[in-house]
Symmetry: C2
């Protein structure tokens, strides 16, 4: 009873260390092997036998899930810290910080970005534990929008020559449902414009990392991305 309470078991400590070491090696191999990483190779690099790794992750998919959660958390943290350095009232600055934070992390960890934002692994079904970390970046944008609404610097009016939502009642209802679910203060039209910017933000990063810009934009991708961010900021109404 007493020895069991002393901080932590030796077993538990070693287990935690090995668990994170397995994840570290797996992420390193992710860079060269992609989503189809080899458990045996990880075990080999660890000096263990492949079956021993199954004591820590019951299957390869579980290891992948752990990596996915870690990557989502890292990406979310990167975006959050980049955004936290900007004045709260500077909505455009916060938007740019989020965007560049995401892109910088993605460029530094291309394989990890492909793992979480690339093609879904055929047999793999992402468990519910991943949705929380995955929502960190979008939550960040939504709270920024909500801040703008609260401060009055972000009008709900889309402007005179804006493209209005199509008169599909179901779509409006669905958007209102997610609107009230995640951010009740953000009006529908603003939410839609935010979604457009959100898609564009990740779309540019995805295209850049997946080689879509080859032979087109080579040397000035950051400036090009920055311009895309500002275009979408203008569309949303951030200034």
């Amino acid at each position: 009873m007493l020895s069991g309470m002393t901080a932590k078991n030796l077993r538990a400590r070693v287990r935690d260390e090995l668990t994170s070491e397995i994840k570290a090696i797996a992420r390193r191999q992710l860079t060269t092997e992609g989503a189809n990483l080899s458990l045996r190779a990880v075990a080999r690099e660890l000096g263990m036998v492949s079956s021993a790794v199954y004591r820590y992750f019951p299957s390869r998919d579980d290891l992948l899930t752990a990596l996915i959660i870690d990557c989502y958390d890292e990406l979310g943290a990167a975006a959050e810290t980049a955004e936290a350095a900007v004045d709260r009232a500077d909505l455009l600055g916060r938007w740019l910080a989020i965007g560049h934070g995401i892109r910088d992390w993605a460029l530094a960890h291309p394989a990890e970005y492909a793992l979480i934002y690339g093609s879904p692994v055929p047999g793999y079904r992402a468990p519910q534990t991943t949705v929380g970390p995955a929502a960190r970046t979008t939550d960040l944008m939504l709270t920024m929008l909500a801040d703008g609404v609260a401060a009055g610097t972000l009008p709900a009016d889309p402007g005179p020559d804006a493209v209005v939502l199509p008169p599909v009642p179901d779509l409006a209802a669905e958007l209102d449902r997610i609107g009230t679910l995640i951010s009740p203060t953000v009006p529908r039209d603003l939410l839609v414009r935010g979604l457009t910017g959100w898609i564009q933000m990740f779309g540019v990063v995805t295209f850049e990392l997946f080689g879509r810009f080859q032979n087109m934009i080579e040397d000035n991708r950051r400036a090009f991305y920055d311009h895309q961010l500002r275009v979408m900021a203008g569309h949303i109404g951030l200034r």
Copy 2:
């Protein structure tokens, strides 16, 4: 000499048939297995031995390349036929037709779309033979823009409150380089707006197919996509 000229050799005929049958089976397996399809499974379904398939495709990557080219061509053809049905002067209609043509094909062939627009396969390097088919969709958009410029219905002026390109001379030079390379009549600012719409178009499809809209937009994705297309059309200046 005479029998050799009769249409085609029996060998060559059988070879062509088997080649396309292998590709058909491989594409069917692509649906369930993703990018890591099994040559042995394809051979099994064909009633052949795995080594026999290597007579037709020297490696698994070569089979993948053939599939990729076919998919690019199919997607390009789908976009072209959808766009060809619209009046040439109706730029907005052409833009919408291209967009929905791409999305419809992607929804009908999600695994194939993931193959060409998803995460790059780690060890795989796309050969030069794929860039031609891959450029069909973008060429379609560019000729549409060039048509608008030629007809005078597409002004180069981005508008009074548009976000201007950042004063990065290299970026401007790079954009002008690709502009003169692929479509000399399209001015730089219009080209940039077209790029924005191009990225958004594929970004929405990618997000939809890769499960990014789950628990958000479920029942009205086509309407949502249509709205995104119209937003970007407004940004480009198509009307």
